[in-house]
Amino acid sequence: MWWDCATHWPLAESAAQALQAGYRDGWAATDAPHREGRQASLLAHSARQHLGRTLNCAPENVFFSTSPQQAICDTLNGILAPFSNKKCGFIHSAIEQATVLHYAEQATANGRFTASIPVSSSGHVDAKQLAGLLAEADGHIRAVVVQWVNGEIGTVQDLQALHAVTTEADVPLVVDATAGIGYLPLPEHWDLLWAPATAWGGPAATTVVLRRGNVRYSPSMAEQHSPVVPAHALAAAVSLQQACSRRSTYAAAARAAITTIGERILSQVRDVDLASDPANGAPHILTASFLYCPGERLAERLDAAGFAVGSGSACASARLEPSHVLAATGRLTHGNIRIGIPARYSVEQLREATDRFCTELPQVVADTRQSLGIPASDSFGPTPDSATAQSPHAAAAPATTSVASTPEQQDSGHAPQEPHV
């Protein structure tokens, strides 16, 4: 079972066919003054219209970029360029894609005003806090960048509330729709939005950018002179249409699976930090961290058992740094596994796989802990049935320098009843 599909789907069959047809009929330069050129141009135009219709956006507001990273850089450059005040910058949430964070670092180094807005332990941006930051910035903020759905923990932002705030401040809301577009209906509350076609089974090297007509924007020379590859645009449009027509079915099946997995993890395994909210988050993403376990070892053991899952732990990353999303939400960073269920399995397949996964996982965790000298029978953590510390969203922001370790303790002023290691 391939369960590492939060933001990147394999190429859909319809996209493969469209790519082939696109390369056959639309290989020429779209601005060439001959029949082949006009045919290529027509394909690109048709793809734009299809995408616009599927995403409920005017075709003239549909643009293409080669990669999400390029789209992020072009978008922010294009938003900031029209302003003569070179201190103008943007606000982003603390759990954005690494490219946004790197862009912000660079912009700050170049003298621009940027701010990272913290998120709650569930990963949500507080609209009131955002309004406060925008007011404090005194007109230096020209964009607010947020993910609609976080690809690691599945948090779904309340775009309506955030858009109301940014509209009031006359600042465009720039939305990364990568992790949600293949599973949830696209909301209307954004000013500029991007998503790579790989997020719904489309081709690589194609990122769709939607831009409302009222956004003050200055496209770079590269953007103006980089024509879309008609075959890629066509494949993106066809696969998106297919994904959208099936998403409610797949989303329901995936949500049933992650809900079951979440419940069974909490009831069968001790000392688990469940970072996702299966009921209210993305329907296909579940992230949990198992105390004392190296995430890489869990992922390897699960892979051997037939489940390909991701991990946000430092030991499983190329840079040996823990996931900034887990860190920003105060979640346990080691022992992390991330499940992203692709839109390719039937309800029956998922039910069978879920049962098998929930049988394998407790044993994998117990074996891993045992190998590290943590006995399964010892009084580590609350009992699995205890809802207090285990409940994914009962626990609020992490205790850092506080004397009491949890907000509940701070509020009540006394320690937990059941001491354990």
Partner: protein
């Protein structure tokens, strides 16, 4: 392959060099009972989850109110030890960050 065991925690008593280097020190409750200073567990050079494992091993034999100082240079420790405390009901009584490492004073409930 099993993880290397963290160094056996030793009671931190300034000026008692012999005690501080005593490799026979163990973590029995009897020995913890007389302690007034926190134990020092130095896990510098060991990546996650070694700091949390060290805390758990210490806490298994510690008594209520005992404290231990975890010294670590792994950046994940600053996130994971508070999360460990939240999950297990123990306390982060104090925290100190230096350019090279972090020190967390944990307290057994």
């Amino acid at each position: 392959m099993s993880e290397p065991e963290p160094q056996c925690p030793k009671p931190y008593r300034p000026g008692h060099q012999d005690d501080a280097t005593d490799t026979t020190a163990s973590t029995t409750r009897t020995q913890h009972a007389h302690l007034t200073q926190p134990w020092v567990i130095d896990v510098r050079g060991k990546p996650c989850p070694a700091p949390v494992l060290a805390a758990a091993r210490w806490a298994r034999t510690a008594r209520s109110g005992d404290q231990a100082m975890i010294i670590s240079d792994d950046p994940a420790t600053a996130i994971d030890l508070p999360a460990w405390a939240r999950l297990t009901g123990n306390i982060i009584a104090d925290k100190n960050e230096t350019p090279t490492h972090t020190e967390h004073l944990i307290e057994r409930i």
